[in-house]
Every structure is written in structure tokens, then in C-alpha cells.
């Protein structure tokens, strides 16, 4: 056997392996997106309240998985994993809006003439609450979103966050107190 024949054979095998993995992975990945994409989008939308932000989170969550696709295995419990990753990303987004002073200012001063006043005020208040959530310590923010926006019971949140229901309760109380201070203080 010549080294050239061998090299070409090797490259053929490597190429085949590479592309088959990519193809197979991308098909399995597509199925993952089909199955859980709505969960990710709806969860992000609940936290952020706007479609663009939710789409951004959707992209970020799935792209992070795709980039590290080789590190996942059959043990991954995708639903719980994606739910938590989405909440984290969505909270990060809320935090980024908070950091972007211009955006905050626009949000506070922005007037939507299409909405009746009550609805507009409610919408502005929700945006403010989102910013306040973004400002909470990570775990408290996660607990608050899961409990109050997604309506999960403490024991279920404990399973997602891998802690006891009692711990979840403590985080929830702390979160609520901090939010009350920041949220109503800002009004």
C-alpha cells in the first residue's frame, strides 16, 4: 500500500465521518428544536414580553447547544435543561436592557398611542418589573420567574434547580422583598 493511497483513504474516511456526524447531528438537532422550540420561545416571551427578545433567546439557547453538541449524550434531559437555560438567558437579556441606559430611558419615556392608557401603563409596569428581575441575584431571579410567571410549584422548581422546596421558598421571599423595594420605588 502506498502512503498516498493511504492518505486519500484516510481523508475519505475522515471526511465521511465528519459530514455524516454533521448531517446526523443536524437532523437530531432539528428534531430537538421542533420538540422544544415552543417551550423555549414561550418561556423567553413570558420573561421578556417581546417577540424579538424571545427570538434572540431562542437562537442563543439552541446555538449554544449546537456549538457544544458533541458534549451532550443520551442522558441529557432536554426539557428541564432547555427550560433552565432559557430562563437564564432571558434574565441575562433583561439585565442587558437594564445596563443599556438608553434603552431603559426609551422604555420609560416611550408612548404607544395604539394602546389605551391602562394597557400602556400595565405594559410599562411589566417592563419595569422585567428590568428589576434582571437586577436580582441569579438564583432569586430564576425562582421568581419560575414561580410567578410560569406558575411552577416550589417542589418542581427545586427539581429544575436541584435544591429543596424549602430553599426555593427562601429565595422566593428574598426575591419578592427586593423586587417590592425596587419596583415600587421606581414607580
Amino acid at each position: 500500500m502506498s502512503i498516498l493511497v493511504f492518505a486519500i483513504y484516510a481523508s475519505g474516511v475522515a471526511g465521511l465521518v465528519f459530514w455524516e456526524i454533521i448531517l446526523l447531528s443536524s437532523d437530531v438537532f432539528r428534531k430537538l428544536v421542533d420538540e422544544h422550540g415552543r417551550l423555549v420561545l414561550n418561556t423567553a416571551f413570558g420573561v421578556l414580553g417581546d417577540h424579538a427578545g424571545a427570538e434572540d433567546v431562542h437562537q442563543e439557547v439552541f446555538m449554544a447547544i449546537w456549538r457544544n453538541w458533541h458534549t451532550y449524550n443520551g442522558d441529557t434531559k432536554w426539557r428541564g435543561y432547555l427550560y433552565r437555560a432559557t430562563i437564564r438567558k432571558a434574565i441575562d437579556h433583561a439585565k442587558r436592557i437594564r445596563r443599556d441606559k438608553g434603552a431603559v430611558k426609551d422604555l420609560q419615556l416611550g408612548v404607544d398611542n395604539r394602546k389605551p392608557d391602562g394597557e400602556m401603563i400595565a405594559s410599562q409596569m411589566q417592563d419595569k418589573l422585567r428590568m428589576c428581575i434582571g437586577n436580582l441575584p441569579k438564583r432569586q431571579a430564576e425562582v421568581f420567574v419560575m414561580a410567578r410567571i410560569d406558575g411552577l410549584a416550589y417542589d418542581k422548581i427545586g427539581k429544575v434547580l436541584d435544591c429543596s422546596a424549602k430553599t426555593v421558598r427562601v429565595h422566593m421571599h428574598r426575591a419578592l422583598k427586593k423586587l417590592a423595594k425596587e419596583f415600587t420605588g421606581a414607580l
Binding site: S2, S11, A14, F18, V33, G49, M63, H70, G74, A180
Partner: protein, 486 residues
């Protein structure tokens, strides 16, 4: 009665409705006389009321579809076509690099193996060329490959591949390979000293490392130089002299061969030409053109030869940036066994894949297509495996298992095809009857060739093997099942 500060601590639990009845009663009593706590309760409730309004928000299906499309397009790096059904997916796969690369790789292996099988020398001048090349320690050359009309693929465009190769008997080989239309090369290192083959894909920032076994290394060491074999191969006894001409300012002398043997059982027509320098007796240009009856053509040009050039170790030292990801760390599969054992293994794989039949012709291209079809079906089956939302999703483990099987099967089948090519090259009078013999035909001749004792070696439908005289073979072949009616 609890103190004010104690009550204040309970207020969050109070508004959340989590306090025991007694504590809740204490809080209510306290609130009646404490403005500060009453305000705090209002603040807490304002947060909860606001959060309540944010509940149960869902996006429209159109938003999901749009987000999905964007995501998949991004994953597919702008290929644009979203694979929403199996037909589209299949078309995409067939036009993808998998098939092209596999086809190209297999053809090239076949061609080069074919080259190595030519025997004998009758032209003094060309024997000299072979001798000169044999003394060379380092070389660099360029290879251009063009395949047209690959069955089942887009016939409009040619599939092309270019390779720039440097070789050293001391360091190994480096090949920069670029498929037509690709923006960057795949770089392949064969490094015998490190016992590895590295395939680096800069476009994807990924690399595959394959470990060489000692057996493979031993095999490689036995015969580690290639152009010499190509030239030796060309110097068969069936060629015509093309006379002299000038290529890139070098006076060359050429020969041409149309010996069907170099069709390797894959191509019906073949033309090969080699041009060597009159002054140095070293090759300047090698051209091969193959054509198959179904219209597929394959062209290979080797040029840009540089002989005994200065090459140092750094040119054979792989550079892998830190952000490149190791895609696979695998043991290099053995080269296909080009012998009887390998042939039986390949036939066994094909009999299984083809549901109790053998391929009608021993044609590597058709057989490769059968293998690819099977791969696609398996991919579909894997992808379509139903998974519930709460259950595990099929991922890398399944992929690994699938890849192992696929590589193993490809290797076995390539071994069979290459063995058959070898039999053709060596005038071993091979014949194959897959068009009428199945695994169920235990006594029917499936494949035969001349053995060393002037008898015939026969593989039967059930893959048992035996030696027979030409007379015995004649009798057996007379009893072959009739060809199936179309």
C-alpha cells in the same frame, strides 16, 4: 402579639398565602394598626399583581416557525434549504459533500491501487524513468480531479477536487485538499513517526485525529513512495509512444495507454498518458481519463512535480489553533482487505444490506450508491425515532455506533471491490454472478477466479469457498440459476 420587625419579616409569606392560619391572623391584626407594614404589603402585592399579568403569554405559531427557520439556516451555515421533509432532506444529502467526498475518495483509492498493480517493463527509456523516481526522497506535486455525471447527483456541475501534496520518506505526507467551491482546504497529515493521521478542517474549525496501528505502519513502510509506482505501473506492455513536446518549457516524451485493465472494473473506457522530461527522465505530467457507459466521467491530472526538494520537519508539523475542536479521536480503520477473506466479508455486508440479494454487477460505483442509500435510510430511521418530550433524545451515543458500523461496512465493501479489480489486473479470469445468485443459492457459483494451481477458487452463494478444476467449474456454471426476468 409579635413585634413589628417580626411581622415585617412575615409579610412576603403573608402575601404569597404561605403562612399558617395563626401567623396570618397575627399579621392581619398588626396591619390594622401599622401604616408602614400596610404600605409594604401593597408594594409586595403590586409585584405579584404585575407578575400575574405576565403569566400564560405564548407566541404565535408563525413566530415559532420563523425562529426555527432562522436557527436552522444558521446551523446549516447559510445553505438556505431547510429540511422539512424526507424528500428534501434526501436531495440535500445526496448533493452534499458526504456523497461527493465518498465517491471521490473511493474512486481515487481505486485508481491509485490500480496504478500500483501494473507490472513489467518493456521500454528501456520508461524503465529508466521509474528507476529515477525510485531514488527520489522528497517530492511535491499537484493533483486535479474532476468527476461528472455521478449517478443520483446533480449532473449540471462537475465535482472537482484539488490537492497539493508534499511527501518525504523521512517525515510522511501533507496534503492540502480543496473540494470545488470550498473556501478553504482540508489539510491531511500522515505522520508515521507520531503514528497518526490528522484531518484538519479550517472552515469548520474542527479536526479528526486517527491513530495508526503498528500493522498499518508496517504496511506503509514496505512501500512508501508513490509516483514511482505510478510510473512503474504505466510502463506496462500496452502503450503507444506519443513522441516529444514541450510542457512549461520542458521537453518531454510521452506514452499513452488505453488498456481496459486500468478501467479497474469500474470504467468502460480509459485513456492514460504520462509525460517525462527528456533531460531528467522524471515525470512532468500524468493524465488519466475514465468514462463509464452511464455517462460518468472521471479525470485526474497530476502535474507541478518537483523532485528532491528541500523539505524540513516544520512543513509536516500540524498547526491546530486552540479554538479548533477535536471532532473525533478514532482508531484508523484498517485498509480494506484485498483478499479472499475481505471479499467474503464485503459480500456478507452487501447480502445483509440488500435484503438477501447481492449486487447484480461488481461495479464499485453502483455498490457505493447502494451503501449510500442504506446510510440515508438509517439516518432517516434514526431521525424519525419518536422521542417523548420528557424522555431522552437520541444523540452522540447512537451516532457513534452508527458511524462505526458505517465505516466498517464501507471498508469491507471496498475490500471486495478492490480485490475484484486486482483479479482483473492480474488476469485471474474473474467472474461474478450476483445478477442471478442469492445467499440462498448454497451450491451456485457467486464469484470465481483462477487460483495458483491453475484451478479455480469459487465463492458460492452462501459464501462458502472451494477449489475446483476448470471442468468442474464449467459444470457448475452451466447449472447457474437463470437470469431473473426484468
Amino acid at each position: 402579639m409579635k413585634k413589628h420587625d417580626e411581622i415585617l419579616e412575615l409579610l412576603a409569606g403573608f402575601v404569597l398565602g404561605e403562612l399558617p392560619q395563626e401567623q396570618a391572623g397575627d399579621v392581619r391584626k398588626h396591619l390594622a394598626g401599622c401604616d408602614k407594614c400596610t404600605v409594604e404589603v401593597k408594594r409586595l402585592r403590586a409585584v405579584l399583581d404585575c407578575a400575574e399579568q405576565m403569566k400564560n403569554k405564548t407566541v404565535d405559531e408563525t413566530v415559532f416557525i420563523s425562529a426555527r427557520e432562522k436557527l436552522i439556516a444558521r446551523v446549516e451555515s447559510g445553505k438556505g434549504e431547510t429540511l422539512t421533509n424526507s424528500k428534501v432532506r434526501r436531495r440535500w444529502i445526496m448533493q452534499s459533500k458526504v456523497a461527493k467526498w465518498a465517491v471521490a475518495a473511493v474512486i481515487i483509492v481505486g485508481v491509485f491501487v490500480g496504478f500500483t498493480m501494473f507490472g513489467g517493463t518493456s521500454s528501456v527509456a520508461w524503465a529508466q524513468v521509474a528507476e529515477r523516481v525510485e531514488q527520489v526522497k522528497t517530492s511535491a506535486y499537484h493533483v486535479y480531479i474532476e468527476v461528472r455525471n455521478i449517478p443520483g447527483m446533480d449532473t449540471e456541475k462537475a465535482t472537482t477536487m484539488e490537492q497539493n501534496i508534499i511527501e518525504s520518506t523521512e517525515y510522511g505526507m501533507r496534503m492540502d485538499m480543496r473540494m470545488g467551491g470550498e473556501s478553504s482546504s482540508t489539510i491531511i497529515y500522515v505522520l508515521p513517526a507520531d503514528k497518526i493521521v490528522l484531518s484538519i478542517m479550517p472552515d469548520q474549525k474542527k479536526f479528526v485525529e486517527m491513530k495508526l496501528t503498528d500493522e498499518l505502519l508496517d504496511q506503509m513502510r514496505k512501500d512508501t513512495y508513490d509516483p514511482k509506482m505510478m510510473i512503474a505501473g504505466f510502463v506496462g506492455d500496452k502503450y503507444i509512444e506519443l513522441g516529444r513536446k514541450v510542457i512549461d518549457g520542458i521537453e518531454v516524451e510521452g506514452i499513452e495507454s488505453t488498456d481496459p485493465k486500468i478501467g479497474l472494473g469500474m470504467f468502460d473506457d480509459v485513456v492514460g498518458r504520462a509525460w517525462a522530461s527528456v533531460e531528467t527522465s522524471l515525470p512532468v505530467l500524468i493524465e488519466m481519463e475514465y468514462a463509464q457507459a452511464d455517462g460518468m466521467t472521471f479525470k485526474l491530472i497530476m502535474d507541478g512535480f518537483q523532485w528532491d526538494i528541500a523539505l524540513d520537519a516544520s512543513e509536516f508539523t500540524p498547526v491546530i489553533p486552540d479554538d479548533y475542536e477535536k471532532l473525533a479521536d478514532m482508531k484508523m480503520p484498517e485498509m480494506p482487505e484485498m483478499n479472499e477473506k475481505g471479499a467474503v466479508k464485503g459480500l456478507e455486508v452487501l447480502g445483509t444490506i440488500m435484503d438477501g440479494k447481492y449486487p447484480p454487477k461488481m461495479n464499485m460505483m453502483d455498490i457505493l450508491k447502494t451503501l449510500n442509500d442504506r446510510s440515508m435510510k438509517e439516518i432517516e430511521a434514526l431521525v424519525n425515532t419518536e422521542t417523548e418530550t420528557t424522555k431522552e433524545v437520541e444523540t452522540s451515543k447512537t451516532t457513534d455506533e452508527y458511524m462505526d458500523t458505517m465505516v466498517e461496512d464501507h471498508t469491507a465493501v471496498m475490500g471486495l471491490c478492490m480485490f475484484y479489480m486486482q483479479l482483473i489486473q492480474e488476469d485471474k479470469d474473474p467472474a461474478y454472478y450476483g445478477d442471478r445468485v442469492t445467499p440462498a443459492d448454497t451450491d451456485a457459483v457467486l464469484m470465481r477466479w483462477l487460483n495458483d494451481e491453475e484451478g479455480y477458487r469459487v465463492i458460492f452463494g452462501d459464501l462458502s469457498i472451494g477449489d475446483f478444476s476448470p471442468e468442474e467449474l464449467g459444470e457448475m456454471e452451466a447449472k447457474l440459476p437463470p437470469l431473473p426476468v426484468e
